[in-house]
Symmetry: D2
Subunit: 102 residues, 4 copies
């Protein structure tokens, strides 16, 4: 759907893929842990604390991905200039707005 | 750590446990989907879109849990009154603050 | 528009009105300070830092108001019970959702 | 404190200064309106609704400022390259993180 030039040209653009995957696996584990808490009817406040912690972890992942994207794809597009740069800047701006409002 | 009276007394306090578990399983699936996108080095903006969607889904789960907690545990504690009520109100207030800031 | 029973019955429901007004005046001052920064074309990052600080200050005001509301209006409505209690619980739940998503 | 090269070099970097000032004046007016509501002890839920609306308005201002900053200062720094570019990218990344968490 979206432009795929960036990740194609910059294979390995994610600065620390293993670290990112580790954080995402931990987040997946948090999702499973919260399911168990619901199944066991744990105290709602304790479940909510875990949901807030998981949300914060997701925010950090998003900020890390955004950094990588800016440092690679946006920088490269700006170097090329023209429509490509404008398009990338609009795209990252929309992504930041979605993130802030999520 | 937290008070556990509420869920013990009100077994089944979660108004729609199956629905909640279904939403949490979907969120777990989103976490796995995002890992695959990272492994396949999908376009960062597309990954970010999925992270924002997952964050919104988590927010909805949190708001649903909070509603259940207020309608059951807080209402019951207020009916009892005294320290129990004050404690529950302080506790839910702290949970809301964590949620707003996560 | 909304139910006005609560503030009518519980005149002085805001636990520390002077403190709240002081915080709101400080927020108004932040809004004026940011206008001056824009007029003087200060560095955008410095303006953004002030906008983030002002947003955090507003969040704290909202959480304080919510606490007061829960401790007074919601508690009183729950004591009365019935439709009034249900209505207040639904109302506060909607307010929390708006706050979390703002 | 911060680098001031950008606004010095790009006087008029704010794409629509008058529009931005108008929005900030409206936000200042919201801050005053909320003070009046507190003074008149309006219903807390109605005050909270105004605080949420004001927070959303501030978010929009922040996203607009960020766009301008990216389209001007960051683009220019990237064109120059080197330390200046790295510094600007780090700086905007920190600003986005503050915004997301505020």
């Amino acid at each position: 759907m979206s432009d795929t030039t960036c990740h194609a040209e910059h294979h390995g653009y994610i600065s620390n893929k293993e670290d990112l995957l580790k954080r995402l696996r931990r987040i997946e584990g948090q999702a499973r842990g919260i399911q168990r808490m619901v199944e066991d009817e744990k105290y709602c406040i304790d479940i909510l604390t875990q949901v807030s912690a998981m949300t914060s972890a997701l925010r950090s992942v998003a900020l890390g991905l955004l950094d990588d994207h800016m440092n690679h794809c946006v920088v490269n597009a700006v170097a090329v200039g023209g429509n490509e740069a404008d398009m990338k800047l609009k795209e990252v701006s929309d992504a930041i707005a979605r993130l802030v409002r999520s």
